[in-house]
Symmetry: C2
Subunit: 130 residues, 2 copies
DNA sequence: CGGGTGACGTTGTATATGCAACACATGCGT
DNA sequence: ACGCATGTGTTGCATATACAACGTCACCCG
């Protein structure tokens, strides 16, 4: 029973891979004082200026309160501006945010390259699930 | 550039999948007051009684301090016993821990079933990485 | 024996995440 | 206009995670 879980648990594998991948991106983005989570949000906002927070959350499958707090940090940094729109909030990139995005691109490329190696571990993951 | 990141970022995809999978397991384990992370640790300890913490951490690619704190919670719950062994710590399951594991098995099975659906999203992930 | 070095765990601090509870706005129906 | 349901965001609390700094133990070497 315990053997079966250890052999085939999807959560264990996905979570471990997530740790490895997240560490890789965070390490390379750290000089820019940006996290992988923040990069994802910044990209989404830059590509869809004025997007409603709730839409962004649904696209990323992010809980409302998590998104709210992550955005607050990015507003602090001056990368994002929030604009009230009734009960909702519209998100806009600032020029500093777009600059940060440009600066992050080389680090992202390198992280993407390193991640490709670890992503090979995804395939056994899928095969064992069956 | 931003388009490229949104289209192909491995971290974004792995992290989103991790959120979905983790939520699934945590939701089903919640009645037992157990998390997916704790289940993984408990399984590892149950299968290798006396395992050194550092070994478990390496197997799961878990940072030392993270493991230390997660284990502390499980010791609190009475599922695990820590035994000093020089500078290291040996981990043993308690009988309550083994009981909890047995109780968790049906929930794990159900989570595993639900996760199989979402894991289909892993395949597009891999293909776009190339 | 004494000092240094490396391995291991813990503590401080920060981000990421989620659930539950609350607050607020909007819009609808009467 | 009133009240109610719904959608949206925020706050309180808890876990998971990582890095940096620190304390300790063990071990080895001179």
């Amino acid at each position: 029973m315990a053997e079966e879980i250890q052999r085939s648990c999807v959560a264990t594998r996905v979570r471990r891979l997530n740790r490895q991948i997240t560490r890789t991106y965070d390490e390379l983005l750290r000089p820019l004082e940006m996290s992988g989570a923040q990069l994802t949000l910044l990209v989404g906002i830059a590509l869809h200026p004025g997007v409603k927070a709730v839409q962004l959350g649904k696209a990323l499958d992010l809980e409302r309160s998590t998104l709210s707090r992550n955005l607050a940090r990015m507003v602090e940094r001056g990368w994002v501006r929030e604009k009230a729109a009734g009960a909702a909030v519209e998100l806009h990139p600032t020029s500093a945010g777009l600059d940060a995005l440009r600066c992050a691109y080389p680090a992202w490329l390198e992280a993407q390259k390193r991640a490709a190696l670890k992503a090979a571990q995804l395939e056994p993951l899928l095969q064992r699930k069956a």
